[in-house]
């Protein structure tokens, strides 16, 4: 028996005894997410599907027959048919993934009394990502814009701000697993410097300046840096002065900015809190143009 115990103890000691901290945290977050989805699917969906379909049926029935619905309906069908089809194709093989780890960073704040004033739950940097997504689609570059309210999730789960990258990582990872077609990942932030540092005038129009930051502590460091520099150079050619360049960060505090997940990952700031949304949108459009050129190379 002594012999057995000795053997078993040896086995026990020869394997790692603890999973990594990241893993423990991420798995819990994932389970929460799935549990919530199951709850919703179970109750709300069934109930709301039944009630809303009844409501919809009665409404459309009365509209169709009592009012002049038929004519309008045929018009709408013929008009929107083509467009609906093209967006469906768009989402099949997305090339670009756009997301916002600090999704509540906002613009157009002239004199913030505290840092909290430069964040907004409703009107924020997500809109700039949306503009970029729209501009890319107009150039026939299919993309996914993830507008997850990361900071809202942190608040719901009582997690600290430093966990934001762990939360935004979940959807990114899931999407990258699902779509192998993605060639570029963009995490869009907003800087907090003074207006004079974050604005440039090109051909009489004010643009919000871009800066790229690359994490030094991940396996894709070299590839990501080269890619960021390529984009910077392209921007310099088309919109001189718009890009401030590529900055290296991530050593203190240590952060990969999720750049370890894809070798064409870019984290970038568009403008600062004193820029207007208009200026940031203009930059998003310019960026879309450059991305299209790079994609076609």
């Amino acid at each position: 028996m002594q012999n057995d115990k000795e053997l078993l103890d040896m086995i026990k000691e020869s394997y790692p005894q603890h999973p990594s901290k990241d893993f423990i945290f991420l798995t819990e977050a994932k389970l929460r997410q799935k549990a919530r989805r199951m709850n919703r699917n179970g109750k709300v969906k069934r109930l709301s599907a039944v009630t809303s379909s009844i409501l919809f049926f009665t409404l459309s029935f009365s509209w169709f027959f009592l009012f002049n619905g038929k004519e309008v309906m045929t018009n709408i069908l013929t008009n929107t048919g083509g467009e609906a089809l093209s967006t469906a194709i768009d989402e099949k093989d997305p090339l670009v993934y756009i997301y916002h780890t600090h999704n509540t960073e906002t613009y157009n704040v002239k004199e913030p009394k505290s840092a909290a004033d430069t964040y907004s739950e409703t009107k924020n940097v997500t809109l700039v990502g949306k503009e970029l997504s729209k501009a890319l689609k107009e150039n026939n570059i299919s993309n996914i814009h993830d507008d997850t309210d990361v900071l809202g999730i942190l608040e719901d789960q009582n997690l600290s701000f430093s966990n934001a990258y762990n939360v935004s990582r979940l959807k990114l990872q899931e999407t990258l697993n699902e779509y192998k077609s993605i060639k570029m990942v963009l995490d869009i932030h907003r800087d907090s410097q003074k207006r004079s540092y974050t604005t440039v005038n090109i051909d009489g129009k004010d643009y919000a300046k871009i800066s790229f930051f690359v994490s030094k502590i991940n396996d894709n460091y070299e590839a990501n840096k080269a890619f960021a520099e390529r984009l910077h150079e392209k921007l310099e050619k088309l919109y001189p002065g718009l890009s401030k360049g590529v900055f290296e960060k991530g050593e203190n505090p240590r952060n990969t900015y999720n750049q370890d997940l894809h070798d064409h990952s870019l984290s970038l700031n568009i403008g600062g809190h004193e820029n207007t949304f208009e200026e940031a949108y203009r930059t998003a459009d310019a960026l879309a143009e450059v991305i299209e050129e790079i994609m076609n190379e």
Binding site: H18, T27, R32, R36, N39
Partner: protein, 179 residues
């Protein structure tokens, strides 16, 4: 304990109570930290999905472990299938599975143990880990493995004997006794 009205808080409690045990079971079974983490996540996703079917009177821990055993055996089958292809081609390539931040260094003896365990057939492996290391009772082990108690006893002894043979454990003991 299992409150279906609040799936989220139930699964979080269950996860936090059991992840370490499940992880350890899977690390012994798979022999590698990364696989064990992936499989642990898979186990708790299955636990969550099947939670509505769990009967409150039953033993939660043995139920979770029976899921873990299924996940482990499924993984083993897939791996075996893949290894048939890999063996010829890639055996010379160095394994890149170890992460750079992994500080766990493996000694020669540990290497031998890992090899011996990975060569046990899955059922023997599970019985050794459950009975021997996690110290489940015979009855609990039989519940987890869905087999009779006498099979647990027989398999456990055979598995241990095989392990010792592979590690020359008996021979070593004879030598030390002879001194």
């Amino acid at each position: 304990m299992v409150d279906l009205k609040n799936l989220e808080s139930s699964i979080v409690i269950i996860y936090n109570d059991h992840y370490l045990d499940v992880f350890r079971f899977l690390v012994y079974f798979s022999g590698n930290q990364n696989d064990a983490e992936d499989l642990t996540q898979e186990v708790f996703i299955r636990v969550l999905k099947n939670l509505p079917h769990f009967k409150n009177g039953n033993n939660l821990k043995t139920w979770i472990f029976s899921i873990a055993k299924h996940v482990a055996v499924d993984h083993y089958r897939k791996k075996k299938f893949i290894s048939v292809f890999k063996e010829g081609f890639f055996s010379q390539l160095e394994s890149k599975e170890k992460r750079p931040d992994e500080e766990f260094e493996i000694t020669e003896m540990e290497q031998l143990i890992h090899e011996a365990i990975s060569k046990l057939k899955p059922n023997y492996r599970a019985v050794v880990i459950l009975r021997g290391i996690h110290e489940f009772s015979i009855k609990e082990t039989s519940e987890i493995l869905h087999c009779s108690e006498s099979k647990v006893k027989v398999d456990y002894h055979r598995a241990l004997r095989e392990l010792k043979r592979k590690l020359h454990f008996d021979a070593r003991e004879v030598l030390t006794n002879a001194k």
